[in-house]
């Protein structure tokens, strides 16, 4: 038996062939090394994400999340739900809180769930992967399997919004959370100081209001460079994609020369644990992390 077991909620972006599939690959490698067993919630569905607010209405959105709770509870009793996507985590956790504090909402949700042949008894805890790493294992345990420290590499830990607000990681401040920096240091890298660690990248508005979002993304990347970072590291699939894929467009728009790789913490950990470029999902990075590819080959 694995030392820890969780009900895994990968979310739409982390499915095979989806935008954060490299996140999934690296999380799987990392969990294998750490002896964490993640069992996918059978037939889980999308949380709705923040952006669906206008079309969905409250009850349908909560019902979608409640369905995941019921499926997890029924099929994986006693296990906490773990999400890797900040938005999935937020959507689920928010739903859990509202359901637990509003009996009318709970009753209506149960009525809706019944249509899908499900019901809720106790809503499992809903946690982010990072919480599990820090709280259930701790930095010391995370350090133990490090075979190849990422010596001399400089990273800007970009926490962004939704892994940080409104819930965040226990014991961390909203304005300057340190956990990502600590994770970077745990695997031997250097976490640079810069002033846009928790700035919003524009979220879903990168699609609907690209000029505004790209202005925000530009400030983030510029600050990372100014801080001396060679790479950016994030805990959120949407932050990752936003900060990575628009660099070309931003360069055109602003005459900048951005070409900075944007990684997941799980990719760094996989590599430091001795994993290959493939196990770390490095191929999935649009801006290739050449330095890490060479490092993995060594």
């Amino acid at each position: 038996m694995a030392r820890k077991e969780y009900a895994f909620y990968p979310g739409c972006s982390s499915q095979k062939g989806a935008s954060a599939s490299n996140y999934l690959v690296s999380v799987e490698s990392m969990c294998k090394t750490l002896d964490i067993k993640m069992t996918e919630i059978p037939d889980w569905n999308c949380c709705g994400a923040s952006i669906s607010y206008a079309e969905s209405g409250e009850l349908p959105r909560i019902a979608m999340n409640a369905r995941n709770f019921a499926l997890a509870e029924t099929n994986l009793p006693g296990q906490d739900i773990v999400a890797t996507c900040a938005a999935c985590w937020l959507g689920s956790r928010e739903s859990k809180e509202r359901l637990e504090h509003n009996s009318g909402l709970m009753a209506d949700t149960q009525t809706a769930l019944k249509e899908a042949g499900l019901q809720i008894k106790v809503i499992p805890e809903v946690r982010h992967m990072v919480e599990v790493l820090i709280e259930d294992l701790g930095y010391d345990e995370l350090k133990k399997p490090v075979k190849k420290p990422l010596d001399g590499m400089k990273f800007a830990g970009y926490v962004g919004c939704q892994t940080n607000r409104p819930f965040g990681i226990a014991g961390e401040s909203f304005e300057n959370p340190m956990y990502l920096d600590k994770l970077i240091e745990t695997v031997g890298g250097e976490a640079v100081k810069y002033d846009q660690k928790v700035t919003c990248c524009g979220g879903a508005l990168a699609f609907s209001e690209p000029e505004k979002a790209q202005g925000q993304i530009k400030d983030i990347i510029e600050a990372a460079y100014d801080g001396g970072a060679e790479m950016i590291v994030t805990p959120c699939p949407l932050c990752q994609a936003n900060v990575e894929v628009y660099q070309g467009q931003i360069n055109k728009r602003y005459g900048t020369k951005f070409d900075i790789p944007v990684l997941y913490y799980s990719q760094l950990m996989t590599l430091a644990y001795g994993g290959s470029a493939k196990e770390a999902g490095l191929k999935g990075n649009v801006v290739r992390a050449r330095k890490l590819e060479e490092f993995a080959a060594k």
Binding site: C12, Q15, G17, A18, S19, A20, N22, D43, N45, C46, G48, A49, S50, I51, S52, Y53, A54, E55, S56, G57, E58, L59, P60, I62, A63, M64, R67, C85, D108, T111, A112, E115, A116, G117, C161, R165, P166, C200, G202, G203, A204, L205, F207, S208, E209, K212, A213, P237, L238, N242, E244, V245, Y246, G248, Q249, K252, K283, V286, V287, R288
Partner: protein, 216 residues
Amino acid sequence: MSDMNTQMADRYKNNFLKEIEEQAEMGEWVKMCMQCGLCSGSCPTNFHTGWDHPPQEIFMLIRAGKREEVLNAQGMYMCTSCYNCYVRCPRKVPVTHVMHGIAEYAYRIGRAPKNQPSMHLSKTFWTNATKNGRVNEVQLTQSLYFKDGIGAGIKKAMEMQSVALGLVKAGRLNLLEAVGIAHKCKDVKGIHAMLAKAEELEAKNKAAKAGTTGKE
């Protein structure tokens, strides 16, 4: 029978605050605002053009009964759900959710601006997500790029970047609509039945509230 907007305006007569409190998700929080302005100052989109009324102003206008100004405002559609305002508000107003709630209400009664890009995205996203139970996340430009990268074999970083650019320019919303097909839940039927019930109940609850007020 008049449209939703007129019906609601009639029912709530001159009490727009009450209308928002009863009809908009989290609208009951508006009265807690003490107008300190911290939310507006924290908002990343407040620095852009097009943001006519930041949260604090919207809340002020609601309390002043400025129904038209609020329903015509663009501000609430600019929200990125960054939760800066939410964690900073000294009165614990869940500002993000109130902004979403007002946007949803304006949309429901047919008052959201036509062709508002974020509204369109919201609609497209939810429709896709619920069609098959799962959506390929909004950042699917990247996933398409990724596929292209594998198909094309090993390419130089710069070449790959230009492919990304091409895809980004190719029209993101169309790409977004194309994905719902890729990933599916098994019990799509159950999900649809569940959502239909949820929509029915929500509509009933809101109508009940409006009904009581109407009879007062």
